[in-house]
Subunit: 415 residues, 2 copies
Amino acid sequence: MSSWVQIPKNSDFTLYNLPFGIFKSKRLSPRAGIAIGDKIVDLSVLHDEGFFSDITLLPEGIFLGDSLNSFIGLGKQVTRKIRERVQDLLKEDQEKLREHQSRGKAMVNRKEAQMLLPVKIGDYTDFYSSIEHATNVGTMFRDPDNALLPNWRHLPVGYHGRASSIIPSGIPIHRPKGQFKDPDMEKPEFGPSRRLDFELELAFVTGKSTKMGDSISTEDAEDYIFGFVLFNDWSARDIQAWEYVPLGPFLAKNFASSISPWIVTLEALEHFRVENPKQEPEVLPYLKCKKDHGFDINLEVYIQPADKKATKVCTSNFKHMYWNIAQQLAHQTSNGCNINIGDLYASGTISGKSPDSYGSMLELSWKGTKPVVLEEGGERKFIEDGDTVIMTGFCEKEGIRVGFGEVSSQVLPAK
Amino acid sequence: MSSWVQIPKNSDFTLYNLPFGIFKSKRLSPRAGIAIGDKIVDLSVLHDEGFFSDITLLPEGIFLGDSLNSFIGLGKQVTRKIRERVQDLLKEDQEKLREHQSRGKAMVNRKEAQMLLPVKIGDYTDFYSSIEHATNVGTMFRDPDNALLPNWRHLPVGYHGRASSIIPSGIPIHRPKGQFKDPDMEKPEFGPSRRLDFELELAFVTGKSTKMGDSISTEDAEDYIFGFVLFNDWSARDIQAWEYVPLGPFLAKNFASSISPWIVTLEALEHFRVENPKQEPEVLPYLKCKKDHGFDINLEVYIQPADKKATKVCTSNFKHMYWNIAQQLAHQTSNGCNINIGDLYASGTISGKSPDSYGSMLELSWKGTKPVVLEEGGERKFIEDGDTVIMTGFCEKEGIRVGFGEVSSQVLPAK
């Protein structure tokens, strides 16, 4: 499938992808778009020009505004139709848009656009679904012989995070301050975190809501999932170690989480679906799956010190996850907890088996004992001021590529 | 201070209180009101009739709509003026409203109104700030000799909860289902919780936002706090015990939290301010307070079985809290976490020293070993289907009473 839009080699935004996002520019107010190559299709322009005239799109101005929530809320039937219509219009042999007088207005240069958060996020959950990550953390901090806690293989462990501090790629963050007490310190101290870390994650966005008291089965779960973004769950390890008992991570995480701005739809990922991993012991009935819910998504993390080249520090894959998205959503709602359109559900750190596939500095540097060497000199145990952390994700199979772009954020000194 | 509105004896809604809420009725769309006696002052009517003509209230229709967020966002200078204006208008000797042709329209019977959530809640944090509660839990589940964890006296422990499932008083909840594994069970099971509990809490609502990276000092904290509501942090103890390591409570809590619908302002509580408790060891500088931030608020919990009389099971007081609201907000933002208007910050279970002041069934029945006897027969270890849990709160001093009304919710069988 090729397009009349020129798509650079290795572009994440092929005609097979067509992710949704919210952008603005110097002359354009926030609005919904679809990425294709180095361009953005301005959906409001296509709508105005009548390209969607056979599709019911209410309320007025559904593509104008600073979130996709209303649009996503129209349901998969509608969002799929829009994506397929745009796919049709962009195909090489299709002249309708290519030769249309509005083409210049409809196709915005990505370079000239600023990407915003794609959705207004109501609630955000962070799972802990990689067995390699949970095992690594358990080995480092608890008991190598009993690294996984007793509940881990029975349910997708998760907790609620802070929605207010989720930001799109490109926005720098300040190193958080906080309270910490290392084992060798007599008293806790307050100051800039000395062990700032990233966590490589993916997050899915829900596109359908439930009422309180209702649950979603694993079988129905994907009807509620609109798509995925890359997710950097920034973490301050020293703050976390001191604060997290008994109620879990709080200030160690809630200062910032960065996401990639383009939501890659489940439809675009369909081609890259892979088998669920074997779960042992057998899970309870409400967590059993009839379908495969894993996806083969290549993930990479780079650290770029100020004024230096980036070094790839991690090569992982989403297919490593023990718990899948259908199980996560079934578990989240198994008690009747209601979900809303635009909620975010992050996977937890995505680590693989090999040491270069670990999805956090905590694991890559093994608690700071094995510094990671950078290409242009220097090394890192954790993230330093001035460093930019860049995460990328893409699927590739049989010549088809579907990617996420990147989530990138620089760390500035503590305020 | 007395009013031309008849205020029943022991009413929580005196002329000294004047809390804000959102109500609707058969003929009225959702709108902002102030409670007085058995009436609600419809603020939109007073606004239309020009009673606030000297106060800038933008955008148009600020009192119409389903949340107080925009109004609260105008700042304390404005919200205080409105409250004081209404107080003036309601005073016994004031004829302006009493004799006004719009009086009938402006004064709605509380009985005819349905109370909604007062704010659109962005994020919700639950603290753990009662030393008696934390000690009780630590004694039951860990080590009576080291009941408090090492961090507890150094920071107000807290975690993020679920905003989507916070509901106003009066809405019944379904008993949650979930996974649990008691120590005597070989494998986990899934089913209706067998240990459903309440937690008696107060929550403050923020009225001012911050930017990411900024912190609030304890000295400035109250500028950011609009007022308080009663908060029932429903908890499923069996689910909690199995799921909470290492990331904290999740499904044990997020199925529902009930709040009282009237936000009692800090101004109304001023008269009941009490000294901060002594904190030992000394806290870090960012948690030190120059002012007192405690309030003498009497709290009660009742259990009412279906078709029976209610039994009071707990008599507690907010003044028992070890960590105060200024410390909680300073801690929450100490890492640069941004806050929004309408966020909710709950105190954690408010237990006192005596066994009848414990704020949860877990403590009152001491893990189910000492059932609580009900007045019309029967006993409770935890909450049973059909039970209504009612929490009330009020301040009383020198003949002045300021109260919260109640938060009441019935437990229906699992769905």
